[in-house]
Amino acid sequence: MVRISLDSVNALFAAIAEREALYIPTDTAPGIAQFKKWQSGMEMTERLKTSRSAKDFFFPQTENLVDFKVSGKKIDIIDPREETEDFVIFGVRACDAKSFEILDRVFLSEPVDTYYQNRRAHGTIVTLACSRPSESCFCQTFGIDPAAPGGDVSAWKREGFLYLEPITEKGRTLLSGLSALLEECPEDAVEAEKESIRGILKKLPLASLTPDAFGGGKTEKYFDSEKWKSLSEACLGCGTCTFVCPTCQCYDIRDFDTGHGVRRFRCWDSCMYSDFTKMASGNPRLTQKERFRQRFMHKLVYYPENNDGIFGCVGCGRCVEKCPISMNIVKVMKTLGEDET
């Protein structure tokens, strides 16, 4: 384990940015933090969470897939991809770090999504332990430990120092290049911090939430539940929850007529939208109730069914904070799970 004084953290950022692109969460508007490319003078936010998740780095909201250039009767097919540059994301929370594993199972299983794979291969993730979890956090429900946040390198802030621990080979490579700035410290230097975080976790209002009532094989149990109607009645059908979610992975592929060709791109889609999976025969989910159900069934039942019991939610709590009408997965789990106990 190594450490650096928090006063010198800018020197560390500068050293990383010299070699590859560095992204840190920074305040971009009152109450809004976002990952931005680091430039000299940029401060890391004090906020726990960025308002958008970190999935943008690997699965951006819009991405060009292919260009068709039309000249006369000839059509050229152009691959617009450029080799992604190496980059480091600093300050990813444990929940977001875990979300990459969930996305990996979707995009890196056969057939591999090479756009995603390309970005994933070039990214190094430095996580940061959550010293002050929020009331909306429930990552522990899904077995995530924000005291040991994972990633390629894990980091902790404690008493004026930033502690760094490499987890993977990528992480070791990153830190070995920065050794001039870092000092060695005992392996147990952050034990007290971990204890403190775990102590707070026990006191969180959502600490007792469990996913035990859900998982693969529960489709028939919940699909026709009467409760979906009242749960979904206030849903506006906006895409806020899906777009701030670190694990939502549905996308749409569209063509844009540029006037001199066609650009085929993909963009995030939301199961909350009335035209989600619309086909020639119409939309298979006719009302907001079915769309609403799709989102939660996907995260709590369908995904674990197809992925060895792993849930499609990491408990980051963004949807809890951002939903305009305060309807969220926590409420759904509590309401549907009531019958279980």
């Binding site: 844009f256 540029t258 006037g259 001199h260 650009r263």
Partner: protein, 145 residues
Amino acid sequence: MPISEFKPKIVAFCCNWCSYAGADLAGTNRLNYPADVKIIRVPCSCRVNPIFILRAFQRGADGVILCGCHPGDCHYTTGNYYTRRRMTLLFSMLDYLGIEKERTRVEWVSAAEGAKFAAVMQDFVKTVTELGENKRLEDRRCKKP
């Protein structure tokens, strides 16, 4: 690009009954106006949805002008009165967003005003040429590489 080389693309929405006929008259009278003006004929100036104006910019227009019958002379009696309110508000909104207010214009041109049509277009093209390329309301995907 130096100003002298810059040829603006202008979209002119002309109502069928007055302004399009005015453009025709300019032609039959052999009055010159810049070839950079692309006319789109619409049944009434009132047919022009604000989306049309924005789409014209998206698709590469550097200036958009809307021509209709003089107020009071609308073929459909009152269409252009609505146009007048809508476009005033739209142009004001574009200005509010920091988009150059000289890039949009409404002119009333009757079927008898071929000379006015040519003069308006010359003036508008000159104004937009001085402004240069539309950057603030462009869609980069539509730019030719």
